[in-house]
């Protein structure tokens, strides 16, 4: 079962790399924010899996909860910060 958890964790890392494409090459700032949000929500599950691999779930579940909260606050703050940026519509065509 530990091998299965390791395989699932590696699969999640691969999917995070796929979302990383949108972070790096996203046409606008908000596309990058979408990619960061997707990676952050996958990281919560990854932390729980690391806890099962080290057999310290009681500690890692608190870290995962704190990470979910920090991810939420970070996305809210970033979207409040970027909502006055002009020229996003023209930017979105330069792929």
């Amino acid at each position: 079962m530990s091998t299965f958890f390791l395989a699932i964790a590696l699969g999640i890392c691969l999917l995070m790399l796929l979302s990383m494409y949108r972070c790096l090459f996203g046409p606008t700032v908000l596309d990058r924010l979408v990619g960061v949000n997707a990676i952050g929500s996958k990281t919560v599950v990854l932390l729980l899996l690391i806890g099962f691999l080290y057999e310290r779930v009681d500690m890692f579940v608190d870290i995962a909860l704190a990470y979910a909260f920090l991810n939420f606050v970070a996305v809210l703050a970033a979207s409040r910060y970027f909502h006055k940026r002009k020229g996003l519509y023209e930017e979105s065509f330069t792929e």
Partner: protein
């Protein structure tokens, strides 16, 4: 009994990985910003729910007070993500709307060449 619980756990976690895969492919392949938020907002939430349910079933192998408390905390993470993920998605959409980012249409697609020519009317 343990084999059955392992099977249920493996089923839920494979399902969660499938949802995550759909979300990642949708984020890469969708044509514009607003349609990219659709897989990012929904499939990630459902993927987290399936994954954590699989982990909870595995964690409740040896029934004790500590295991039950840890499982309740994991379900608390699911509850919090179900509250926070739609709020974050709505906030990103609101930022796009306030910044004047218009949704994708076929017309704006043909306007792509127009903008590339650099002759704004």
């Amino acid at each position: 009994m343990a084999t059955l619980l392992n099977g249920i756990s493996i089923f839920f976690m494979a399902m969660g990985l499938l949802f995550f895969l759909g979300g990642a492919v949708g984020i890469i392949r969708m044509p514009d910003f607003y349609s990219r938020l659709h897989p990012a907002g929904k499939l990630d939430t459902l993927g987290i729910m399936a994954m954590v349910i699989g982990l909870v079933v595995y964690n409740l192998h040896h029934l004790s007070l500590a295991a039950v408390l840890v499982s309740i905390k994991m379900l608390l993470i699911v509850f919090f993500v179900f509250m926070s993920s739609p709020t974050a998605t709505h906030s990103i959409v609101d930022a796009g709307m306030r910044a004047g980012l218009r949704p994708w249409t076929q017309k704006s697609r043909s306007g792509k060449n127009h903008l590339k020519a650099g002759k704004g009317e």
